[in-house]
């Protein structure tokens, strides 16, 4: 517990405000805690609870803000104005939407599995909020510094697959089943390149902890790992079902996919989880590939500002992609994952591993990989950019030809009313 307090500045600040005394003078500089001696456990509890409260409400408020931002920016992309009536610049629009959803009737279909149906929004929101726990928002500010944070993020994020499948299965709606089938097929496929793309980052940083990854980024990893960043961006947009991978709730095809039957605040929660999911993904992208809270100046003082700026940038990228791309078909999406992203992820992993092997050994002490220096990171950035350009061009050409060949018709139309198989 002591070392945890020592590292986590936010936690320590709140704890010391309540329970600072002679006993913990080592890390509490001011010794005037407002709680009497012997009540340190309450200090721990309050500190943890406060941070969780801030995080959960911050995520939900961020989701509301993101809804507003998305609608405004999409409006600009569409050459229209977007919501601008309620509050300054329409900022209160999400609140109005939420009120509307709250007072709507909460319908559950008769043939639905009631318990599972009701659990879905909870599971979705839970998986999202859990994934926010490991992200360092500023210098020494995080809920938990797990030593397997990257793995944890991927694992917790994939819980949403189960939520989506629960929704599709319990709704008793054929469109929902369609959405669920599509989502399970797609998400499991995209999980593979997603994880592979993160291994490169972990190799360079030498740690799975997000805090260590941020500290290792003397050069933003988006330059050192351009392929990894691209694959992660694509994979995570599939995970979040944003265009061009939004087949599981493709509005023009299957109404709303897995959440067709949801209404009222359950629908609102699913939407909130989806929107906050974009923010979580942007946060992870910013942390792993753009240096997290570290900035060119005032890194430790203005860490939160730098972090928010980077997060906003990636959130904007997600909105931009959504506003400009049509949707792919399911077989094309699967082909894209297995034939394009996965080989690229392997190439990225191999090249990074070789580079780390050499650069790591150069500075190695007796039996330990050495720290990769800033100059070496620049060299790696140059090499990896070259590899990225070559690999994307080559693989793009291969898959493009593959995709443009005539798709196979599985059934042949013969005469009115009858359908025969080709083979």
């Amino acid at each position: 517990m002591d070392s945890f307090l020592e590292n986590n500045g936010m936690y320590r600040g709140i704890y010391c405000y309540f329970s600072g005394n002679e006993g913990n003078a080592a890390w509490c500089k001011g010794l005037d805690g407002i709680l009497p001696l012997g009540w340190e456990w309450l200090g721990y509890f309050i500190a943890g609870f406060t941070i969780m409260l801030v995080l959960v409400n911050g995520a939900l408020l961020g989701a509301a803000l993101f809804v507003w931002g998305e609608r405004r920016i999409l409006g600009r992309i569409h050459k229209r104005r977007g919501p601008n009536r309620w509050g300054p610049f329409g900022l209160l629009q999400p609140i109005a939407d939420l009120l509307k959803l709250l007072i709507k009737e909460d319908l559950v279909p008769t043939i639905a599995d009631r318990v599972v149906f009701t659990l879905v929004p909870v599971v979705m929101l839970m998986s999202l909020l859990l994934s926010l726990a490991v992200i360092p928002f500023a210098h020494n500010t995080y809920l938990a510094d797990l030593n397997v944070a990257v793995l944890y993020f991927v694992a917790v994020g994939s819980l949403s697959t189960i939520a989506i499948f629960m929704a599709g299965w319990s709704s008793g709606n054929k469109y929902a089943i369609f959405g669920a089938m599509r989502s399970v097929a797609m998400l499991i496929s995209y999980e593979v390149p997603l994880v592979m793309s993160l291994v490169g980052v972990v190799l360079i940083a030498g740690s799975m902890s997000m805090v260590d990854v941020v500290n290792a980024q003397h050069v933003p990893f988006i330059l050192v790992q351009p392929l990894g960043a691209l694959i992660f961006l694509l994979g995570i947009s599939a995970e979040l079902n944003r265009t061009p991978f939004d087949i599981m709730e493709a509005e023009s095809e299957i109404i709303a996919g897995y959440h067709t039957e949801y209404s009222g605040i359950k629908f609102g929660l699913i939407q909130a989880a989806e929107m906050a999911g974009v923010l979580a993904a942007s946060a992870v992208l910013a942390t792993l590939f753009l240096g997290g809270w570290s900035g060119p100046v005032f890194s430790s003082e203005l860490g939160a500002v730098w972090f928010l700026l980077k997060l906003t940038f990636f959130a904007f990228v997600f909105i931009w992609i959504r506003g400009t791309f049509p949707r792919l078909r399911i077989d094309q999406i699967m082909a894209f994952a297995w034939k394009f992203l996965l080989p690229l992820a392997f190439i990225n992993l191999m090249s990074t591993a070789v580079e780390v092997y050499f650069f790591g050994f150069y500075n190695a002490s007796a039996d330990q990989l050495g720290v990769i220096t800033r100059n070496e990171l620049w060299v790696m950035a140059a090499i990896n950019s070259g590899i990225a350009v070559v690999a994307i061009t080559l693989f793009g050409r291969v898959t493009r030809n593959r995709m443009e060949t005539e798709p196979v018709r599985l059934h042949k139309f013969q005469s009115a009313g009858t359908v025969i198989g080709v083979n």
Binding site: A250, E253, F325, P326, R327, R329, I330, T405, L410, V419
Partner: protein, 368 residues
């Protein structure tokens, strides 16, 4: 390893975001693949043909506006041609030019809707649709100048057009003609080469030329299949014989070709409108006819135009009274739907929506 899968039947529509109105498809899926399609329509049946028998010849015009409400001008034109044949009257030259101009503007507007919703069905979140609607709005503004209405125009009358355009119409039209081709080009640059659009539409929803002809498909769907057939060239009505334009034709008959044909037809329509502006003569706009038309008894006539959706025809039979004895509408949307089964069976759900969008149906016209 072979899985035993059960087919699943789903009702797509009548309430569905991308069935373009109240169209219903009962589709049987094997996984994502369509094994059977059963189109069901009639949800928007308003009995227009029967209603026409209760109204006099000029009043029927307002019913034609409501058939294909995205292309009211060409509906008016087809009906007026039929009535003029029945009455044996001719239209003054200026009236013909105004008709063609309005019809071609309407063709642009209708094709813009077709392209916009086609891309919407592809999953592009309303962005191309909004770009299309921006241009369509300015066309509707021009219509408002012409006749005071934007959608249900009733601009053309048997014998000519309703009124001389106001003075500020011509500068507005010239301004439109200067600005719009650039906007179309912008749209084209944004979407025609888009990798996802190409991958999704090329090679899907292929309609062979023989079956297109056998099912009497018409319009961009027929031309997309590679058959150069356009009533404006084949049987020039109004003044199309005095105007120089091309008929774009596709090669493969897939969704991309139909999409491309529409895009190209928009450009040809701009060409036609600019020629009309140059060539339009002075003179009367309408042959003076009595307010209540009374064609000779037991005559029949068929007036047809190349509407944005295909061959639109009005078959009229007179019985000597003020109202037609029979008014039959040959609507291209309905006949183009006949190839639906051939187009859809064997493809995936996502292709189905795109193919339906590329046929460009309008339920007001299908059900009448």
């Amino acid at each position: 390893m072979a899985f035993k899968t059960e087919p699943m039947t789903i009702n797509i529509g009548p309430q569905h975001p991308s069935t373009h109105g109240v169209f219903r498809l009962r589709v049987t899926f094997d996984g994502e693949v369509i094994v059977d399609v059963d189109p069901i329509f009639g949800y928007l049946h308003r009995g227009s043909e029967k209603l026409a028998e209760e109204r006099n010849y000029v009043q029927v015009l307002t019913l034609t506006d409501r058939l294909d409400y995205t292309a009211s001008m060409t509906n008016n034109q087809a009906y007026c041609l039929a009535v003029e044949k029945l009455m044996g009257v001719s239209v003054p030259e200026r009236g013909k030019y105004l008709r063609v101009m309005a019809a071609e503007l309407q063709r642009i507007a209708s094709h813009l809707i077709a392209i916009g919703f086609f891309l919407q069905d592809l999953g592009a979140l309303a962005t191309p649709l909004m770009y299309c609607f921006r241009l369509r709005e300015s066309i509707l503004d021009l219509f408002e100048m012409l006749c005071g209405a934007r959608i249900t125009v009733s601009y053309m009358r048997p014998g000519g057009v309703f009124a001389e355009p106001p003075e500020d119409f011509w500068p507005a039209l010239r301004r439109f003609m200067e600005e719009s081709p650039g906007l179309i080009e912008e749209l084209e640059n944004l979407i025609m080469e888009n990798e996802i659009v190409v991958v999704r539409t090329k090679g899907t929803g292929i309609l062979g030329i023989e079956s297109a002809i056998a099912n009497s498909v018409s319009g961009p769907v027929l031309r997309g299949s590679g058959f150069a057939w356009d009533w404006r060239k084949a049987d020039p009505y109004d003044i199309y014989d005095q105007i120089d334009f091309d008929v774009p034709v596709g090669n493969n008959g897939d969704n991309y070709d139909r999409f491309q044909v529409r895009m190209e037809e928009i450009k040809q329509s701009f060409k036609i409108v600019s020629q009309c502006i140059r060539q339009i003569p002075d003179g009367p706009i309408r042959t003076e006819l009595p307010l209540v038309l009374r064609p000779p008894a037991w005559q029949e006539s068929y007036g047809r135009v190349e509407s944005p959706k295909g061959e639109l025809g009005f078959y009229l039979v007179s019985d000597g009274s003020v109202a037609p004895y029979r008014c039959k509408v040959r609507s291209p949307s309905l006949l183009n739907l006949h190839v639906l089964k051939e187009l859809l069976v064997g493809w995936k759900l996502a292709d189905m929506i795109v193919t339906l969008g590329s046929i460009d149906i309008n339920m007001g016209e299908v059900d009448r």
